[in-house]
Every structure is written in C-alpha cells, then in structure tokens.
Symmetry: C2
Subunit: 164 residues, 2 copies
Amino acid sequence: MSELSFTPMTADDFELFWPTFKAIVLEQHTYAIDPDINYQAAYTLWCEVPRTTFAVKDSAGELVGSYYLKANAAGPGDHVCNCGYMVTSAARGKGVARAMCEHSQEIAQMAGFEAMQFNAVVSTNEVAVALWQRLGFSIVGTVPKAYRHASLGRVDTHVMHKIL
Amino acid sequence: MSELSFTPMTADDFELFWPTFKAIVLEQHTYAIDPDINYQAAYTLWCEVPRTTFAVKDSAGELVGSYYLKANAAGPGDHVCNCGYMVTSAARGKGVARAMCEHSQEIAQMAGFEAMQFNAVVSTNEVAVALWQRLGFSIVGTVPKAYRHASLGRVDTHVMHKIL
C-alpha cells in the first residue's frame, strides 16, 4: 500500500479507530486486552500511556490502522521499546502492518531506542509471527499456554525481539 | 527463616519498606524501575497497581521483605500472574525470598491463576535465577542485552515461568 500518511493520533482519529480496536479485543485472537474495555480506558491505554501513537491513513484519507510506541520497561530497561499495531478490517492484507512496523522502527531509532520487543505474540497468529520474522525479529522465548484464544483455548505466546 | 508473618501491606509498612525499595532501584542490578522514582509513584507501583501486596515480618515484628502479586496481562492473558519480591538488606541470605515465592504461589493458586511468569529476571542475578529454578520455574526465553546493569553494562534478561 503506497502513500500512507503517519500522523500523531488525535482524539478524532481515535473515534474513527475505536470500532477496529473494539472488534480486535472482542475477537480475542491476538491481544491480551480486556474485551470489555470501555472507550476511555482504551484511549488511555492506546494513546496516553505510550510515548507516541500514530494514526495511519491511505491516500484517500481513510484510516487504515494505528500503532503505539513506548518503552518496554522503566529505568535500566528503557532502552528497549515496545509497539502494538492494529489494522482496520477493510485494509487487511495490503501491507499496512508491514508499513507500520517499518515506520515504528525508524521512529524508535530516532528516539534512541536500541531494540524493539513484543512481549506476547500469540503463536497461532501465524501471519503476524511470519511478518515480524521477515522484518528481522527473532523468537527469543515462548511462554506455554499464556493466551486464552477465543476458539483454540490456551495457546503459547512468543517473545519477539530485534536489535535496531 | 521460621515464623514469618505475611500481612496485607499498609501505608505504614510501606514507609518502613521504602529505604529497601529505594536502595534496590538505585543499585540498578535487578529491577527495571526508574532509579529516580519518588515515594508516591513507588507506592502506586508496588501497592496500588498490583492485585495484592504483602508485608513480611519476622517473629520480632521486623519488616524483612515485601512482594506484590498481579495479573501479568489483561483479558485473555489474565490467567497468568506476575510477582515482584524485595528483601531488606539485613534479612538477606535467610530464606526470605524463598518463603515469599512459596507464599505467593499459594496465594496465586487460591486466586485462580494457572501460572506465574517473571518477565525480566536479570541474568547476572544468579542467586535469584538459581532460586527460581529450584522452586520449579523454567527459563522460557532470554532477551539479549535488555537490562543496563549499573556495573556490568547491558546484560540479558530471562523470562521465567511456572505452571501452578
């Protein structure tokens, strides 16, 4: 997908993003977020707790996704960052996740982070695991049965990591 | 160490615990916590964010340590818990950490948690790594250079895990 724009997420952007966020957490296939989370708590989690959050739009100005970037830990762990990415259902399979991950690595490097870590990539989310691997991430750990997948039950999660 | 008492941590207990907490985070050998954290933020982190926090005292009523217990993730990840343990300098080497970890596993099981996960055990903290292993935890992942140790520089962290 060419001509994506990345802009700091506004409250208006989050309103457009909320149905995507809500559908993804309700599905319970990928994110360890309370499926009953309300709008304000979701806004705090996605837009206020992180260091920065981007809205991603296509050339027509349609929101296609969003991601956040934050330190993965505090103090002596704050040289490693963490990101979360979500793509709207209409924009899936068009390279938006790849574009967001590449953008986030550039932003992270500019912010001085030395590495990026994903703490709990659900192992059955094979598309994501394969994409992160193609983008240079390694599986550095696997936690047994750490995610209650809505249809598959307890499945493993991967810790994935890339030196930037 | 026999005859330890475990009680829900009060604000007065935290005042007694603060010098221990402050020394441990200033040392930057074990915890990924901002070494400049202030009293109120530390209280929030240790006593308010977790599900429960215990003060541990010896038979003379002296505070010897504290630990917290919380879900390690939200929603479909909230069947796995996480704990953090700190021992006062005067009480080190007397089995307090072991006693706290054993107590926390009992409390976690009673609360319905299925597993316990430590996200970032600093690999050079060999006493802790060995103790957790003796208590049944496995190293399920190792993140390269994820901790800036005050004297050793960037060192690996382990993800450790035990099914309860």
